[in-house]
Symmetry: C2
């Protein structure tokens, strides 16, 4: 077994001025990990010749696979291709297969005339192996130098993913004898990182050196991840060992355990509903449809999610969800009375087994002396029961919306579990 290291270099000024969030690196890291490759570094550099050059030098000393994304577009701010040509000592040539592919994309799919700029994308350094990019016009390129593989890919996520899946990942077992790296993750809710750490300190002390524990706090939840590494021929033993420690960990946190998988809260709720052949609706004020969006982010949600009334304006709460004028005028729309009514009405109107309703103040602004920013009332309803609870979050709008959605889904999860 060799320990195989990779480094990821992302190229583009937009990464350094913060205009774009890099999601490519996380995806690449996940996929390489599954293939037994450890990521050593992730580096972002601007569209600057010397900086890209220096990153190639530095990362190829640390890793045997260097992946580059970005800087391959048809516009003149992209300097990566000429740089790679010079770095690996080649000259630019027209690649016939890529030209045919680019021409085909324009003729058959885009149905637009091709311009010279597009044809230029078929020019590649003669010292590279072209990795055909079925999803776009910029090809991937493979270079080799002193035993290190360099792979350059476009920055557009679905193009990069296609090249990774069809060229890079299949190449790894042919080139390297990788070890095994496996992760198991569980999700907890309603408890802070430090209290969790106290609760599992004996489990942590019992871990052998080839199993690592990590805490991943996020929006009112904490994920615990165990990572094991070892020789491929020991896979069965390693699996068993990982399972044992993982199950012990799950038992230690059982009061706060949501699920023994690395899936979002919305998916946990979806699975519960699916297993029980039950349906769900939402009535959302302050989250503005975000809970419904989370529930429908996964294909197949139509089996349990029927729909939602986003009642952002008070009159919609009255007209569609039957919240009385009196409630609105006396206790207001951020109140137990209001969310109970919203949940009950949504269940009835959308004819579902369960419903969830939220109403609160996400900020900035909108608070009153009694109702500060971050105050949210939530209710969940089933045929037999309505539960309501108030929460106080203390963050920015985006984070308050995330926390509200996850907390409401967790309330719903507990109701479904108790009702089954």
């Amino acid at each position: 077994m060799e320990k195989v290291f990779a480094s990821i270099i992302t190229i583009g000024d937009e990464l350094l001025i913060g205009q774009v969030i890099d999601t490519n690196s996380a995806w690449i890291a996940q996929e390489l990990n599954k293939a037994g490759v450890t990521i050593k570094n992730r580096v972002a550099v601007g569209d600057v010749w010397e900086d890209i050059w220096a990153a190639l030098d530095a990362e190829s000393k640390k890793a045997s696979i260097v992946l580059l994304t970005g800087g391959l577009g048809p516009t003149s701010d992209d300097i990566t291709k000429p740089l790679l040509c010079e770095y690996f000592g080649g000259k630019m040539v027209l690649d016939a297969a890529t030209l045919a592919h680019v021409t085909d994309i324009f003729e058959r799919i885009l149905k637009r005339p091709m311009i010279e700029r597009n044809a230029k994308q078929a020019e590649v350094p003669d010292c590279c192996t072209v990795l055909l990019n079925e999803r776009g016009t910029a090809p991937g390129m493979l270079f080799e130098k002193d035993g290190v593989l360099f792979i350059s890919m476009p920055g557009v996520p679905h193009e990069m993913k296609w090249i990774m899946e069809h060229h890079v990942i299949p190449m790894i077992p042919k080139r390297f004898k990788t070890g095994i790296i496996k992760h198991k993750t569980l999700l907890t809710a309603g408890i802070g990182e430090s209290f969790l750490a106290e609760m599992i300190k004996e489990n942590e002390a019992a871990l052998p050196s080839h199993i690592k524990l990590a805490y991943l706090p996020n929006y009112g939840m904490v994920r615990l991840r165990l990572t094991i590494s070892g020789e491929p021929q020991n896979e069965a033993v390693l699996d068993k060992e990982l399972d044992t420690h993982f199950n012990n960990l799950a038992a230690a946190v059982k009061d706060y355990l949501v699920v023994k998988e690395d899936i979002p809260m919305a998916e946990v709720v979806g699975q519960l509903l699916l297993n029980q052949h039950k349906t769900l609706s939402t009535a959302e004020s302050c989250t503005g449809g975000y809970i419904a969006h989370l529930l429908t982010a996964k294909a197949g949600a139509s089996a349990y999610f029927k729909g939602s009334v986003v009642s952002y304006a008070n009159e919609i709460k009255g007209d569609l969800l039957d919240v009385s004028k009196e409630t609105m005028e006396t206790v207001g729309v951020v109140s137990e009375e209001c969310v109970r009514k919203m949940a009950i009405s949504a269940r009835k109107l959308l004819k579902t087994d369960y419903s969830v309703a939220v109403s609160g103040i996400m900020g900035p602004g909108g608070e009153t002396p009694e109702k500060p920013v971050g105050m949210v009332w939530m209710a969940v309803a089933s045929e037999n029961e309505v539960r309501a609870q108030v929460f106080h979050f203390r963050f920015d709008r985006k984070r308050n919306i995330e926390l509200t959605a996850n907390s409401a889904l967790n309330m719903l999860r507990l109701l479904i579990v108790d009702n089954s």
Copy 2:
């Protein structure tokens, strides 16, 4: 003027196995840019002693400000603090002010007993200046070595942001004579990057060397960004120069220009509605509330956004949005007839001036021979007019949902513009 460079080091295995997407770096980069600091590199390293050490060595050679985030939590997978202590040659001491702050958080806000692990967060290397973190228990720390500033912050975004805003950004003009860096960005929709490049090639050729142009394609839209840099005393001249080139650029792309700002499409629509005192509702099937979520992501949306019917199940389309059984059985729910009815009904039911409706197949799965994955019908309605259009997207579920939302909002934008 000095050209001041900064590097960002993010610490945590979760970044290298792809479990977490790094949003901190983009935010930090934006803020430093505004303060006249250029980001040289962004590096992510794991919770590995030698790798963090090597990154400190390497980045401090390239930059005069090195920012670190992550690795400061109360759990034992965090090694950053002891490492910094050794790197800068100090010893750990208890910081009284931080201890008082941590104690206060537990007593007053969390209302939970503090455990030893929490108190330990008040221990810092004696060679650092503590940067109080009002938002959490892990303090920021400032170190100086050979003229380079090193600032270590927690990885939790709202804690990091607080420390940046209250300590780091105010420190920069006191320590450095930074130059000016300014950006102006415009948003286009409905045209590809290479065609845009053809359209503006003369503008591009006319740019002086201290103004850079960048193309930022994203979900059916392309942003064009001009960046100018220069001496602070020339600010007025630079501003004028940037404005001239920016306005010329906007004129060259006028047929595809959405807005001369760097704001999301939903915000452009929101501003139009706000200016015209008009209201909006959505009727969403395949986007599952995502358009409503985008519209309500910004505070103040209640001035123009009233609500939404998320009709994920067909019976909701019938019951609430009056789509006839006949429509569903003959042309189906992914049809012009269906979305026209959805838009008209939403406008009526939610009593708004405008409405937008979408129905399509986001995949994976769910397609029929006539209706492939990625096919979406959209309609927008005003008092006088209903427009419908079909789109074909060819990507994954997440991207299809994004593209659908942005395309629908763009259709709506054009309707509002034409109606005013």
